[in-house]
């Protein structure tokens, strides 16, 4: 059975791993944000899969909905931070933001 729970979870896992790798490797701040979006989407895929294939039902969908909403909010704030960062550093390279190093 291809389109079962595990298939969905596999897709979610791939999205998640891609998002993490994206966060880890992209020096562009916007790229890091995109990685975050991917990670959240991976989680959402999992939620929807559980909604369909387990007794979680509607609750999982509501969780997914909240995740989407919060992701949107997070995107807005993160973008604002990115713009601020750009204003201050004239670049979007997150490697420049290392003033908190020990």
């Amino acid at each position: 059975m291809i389109a079962g729970l595990q298939a969905y979870l596999l897709v979610g896992a791939v999205l998640f791993v891609c998002g993490v790798i994206c966060m880890a490797t992209k020096r562009n701040g916007i790229g890091v944000l995109m990685g975050v979006e991917l990670v959240l989407n991976g989680a959402n895929v999992n939620f929807i899969a559980f909604s369909k294939y387990t007794a979680l039902g509607l609750d999982a969908q509501i969780f997914a909905l909240f995740v989407i909403v919060l992701a949107a909010a997070e995107a807005a704030v993160a973008l604002a931070i990115a713009l601020n960062f750009y204003n201050n550093h004239l670049t979007i390279d997150v490697d420049k933001a290392n003033r908190l190093k020990g």
């Binding site: 291809i2 389109a3 729970l5 595990q6 298939a7 596999l10 897709v11 896992a13 791939v14 791993v17 891609c18 998002g19 993490v20 790798i21 994206c22 490797t25 992209k26 020096r27 562009n28 701040g29 916007i30 995109m34 990685g35 979006e37 991917l38 989407n41 959402n44 895929v45 929807i48 909604s51 369909k52 294939y53 387990t54 007794a55 039902g57 509607l58 609750d59 969908q61 509501i62 997914a64 909905l65 989407i68 909403v69 919060l70 949107a72 909010a73 995107a75 807005a76 704030v77 973008l79 604002a80 931070i81 990115a82 713009l83 601020n84 204003n87 201050n88 004239l90 979007i92 390279d93």
Partner: protein, 203 residues
């Protein structure tokens, strides 16, 4: 899902799952932000299609509207506002890329192995409780009721009399969004006068 549609559903799932995964990988691999954004659109859109396939019509729609139509546009704005030159490339060092890739593979393997190791419960038999009393995948009405605190999809007769709706989280999220709106506006606003001397000092 009945049997006649099973094959079509499987096929569609395969197509969209592949699209999702491949474009996610493409996001990772792409070097320019614009391309990454493009692949991200593909990936998120395909995810939305997967949602439709999983009988979560409203979530899929919300995914399309909010993510693809809103968040990504926002990201593209960010790209445009922060790009000092067209097709700006900020390359990572090869070592990092390799380590990242290796780590990704290892992570993937770990997740996959744990995924395999879990004994998943059998899916609920009969009609999905989610879509009870409504066409398949039409979860708009139960979702709305749940957000208002009512749960028509649950059988509450067996002593579970507590409300299991989401009115309070809904309100919290609403307020949260408002706060975020204000906060984002505050953060992003132009601070020329105070920013100029700060830059001078840093350089």
């Amino acid at each position: 899902m009945n049997d006649s549609n099973l094959l079509g559903g499987q096929l569609l799932f395969a197509i969209f799952a592949l699209a999702t995964c491949l474009s996610a990988v493409a996001v990772v691999v792409s070097q320019t932000v614009v391309r990454m954004a493009f692949w991200l659109v593909i990936s998120l859109g395909s995810t939305a299609a997967l949602f439709f396939l999983a009988d979560a019509d409203f979530i899929g729609a919300a995914q399309l509207i909010i993510y693809v139509g809103g968040t990504l546009i926002l990201l593209v704005f960010g790209v445009m506002l922060t790009a000092s030159s067209p097709y700006l490339k900020i390359k990572s060092s090869p070592g990092e890329t390799i380590i990242g890739g290796l780590l990704g593979l290892l992570f993937m393997f770990a997740v996959f192995s744990s995924l395999q190791g879990v004994e998943w419960p059998a899916p609920p038999t009969g009609d999905s409780a989610v879509t009870a009393g409504s066409p398949e995948g039409n979860t708009l009405r139960p979702l709305g009721l749940a957000l208002l605190g009512a749960r028509p999809d649950l059988d509450l007769h067996d002593g579970d009399t507590l409300s299991t709706g989401y009115l309070l989280p809904f309100e919290i999220v609403s307020v949260h969004l408002l706060v975020v709106l204000i906060g984002a506006a505050y953060l992003a606003r132009a601070k020329r006068k105070s920013a100029a001397p700060a830059e001078g000092l840093e350089s």
